[in-house]
Subunit: 146 residues, 2 copies
């Protein structure tokens, strides 16, 4: 298994924890110099917090930093416009995405602003999202403001 797949597994573990909590099953980890420096998952349901997407929760857990140079953000699902804007604002240079079949569309926005984007098209990520979208369509619609 590649290093990227290994770190994606850690993001999937976060997504699964969120699902077990009754939440939106999207997880993320921030990696720097070959180690995970922060983890997070969507907490909209758990904390009643609409900005707590998986990527945002992970960046909140990472705390204050002078720079994100040399970091990679792993996320189980393709970033929404909030999270994509944050990646650009924070100058995170590299993003690894579990899947972008159940939701996506901001990959080119990121690439056009110099972010390296890798989509792993992982079947576990897709299966978890499809199950969630099927079981809780109203929560999912709310999470993406549709």
């Amino acid at each position: 298994m590649s290093t990227d797949h290994s770190f994606l597994c850690e993001a999937i573990a976060e997504a699964e924890q969120g699902f077990a909590e009754g939440g939106v099953p999207i997880g993320a980890v921030l990696v720097e110099e070959g180690r995970v420096v922060a983890r997070g998952h969507n907490r909209r349901v758990q904390q009643g917090d609409p900005i707590a997407h998986g990527e945002m929760d992970c960046l909140r857990q990472a705390g204050r930093r002078a720079s994100y140079r040399g970091t990679t953000l792993y996320t189980t699902l393709s970033p929404c416009m909030m999270c994509a804007g944050t990646i650009v604002q924070f100058k995170i240079p590299r993003v690894v995405i579990g899947e972008n079949r159940s939701f996506g569309g901001n990959e080119e926005f990121l690439r056009a602003r110099g972010v390296e984007v890798l989509v792993l098209d992982d079947p576990r990520c897709l299966e978890l999202m499809l199950r969630f979208q099927r079981e809780k369509p109203a929560v999912w619609a709310e999470d993406i403001a549709e």
Copy 2:
């Protein structure tokens, strides 16, 4: 004083509270049907939270919503790429900005995605930001990842 200026005053009060707390002096309020439904200010310093920009903190305080239709977000400073992405993602239809002289650049990003953007060019907002940028340049650089 116009209604927009009145609501901007409420965002300025949030910014001033943040400054008094030793934080980044940027405030925001979310208005719906002529009344303030949520308030917030940048809490990077106070909570060690890099995603807690004024607009984000306000949207967090607003809690879960099915829709932002009919809302206006007032912010003392032009939204960064994180906050602009969030406005688009949440489909907030209207943004009123205190000033965009000390920081800006995402007005066209918002307008191109259908958001109505009004810049009031308020001297109190500009004065507060310039004072903060002069007194705490390192915190400001960190807040915009520069």
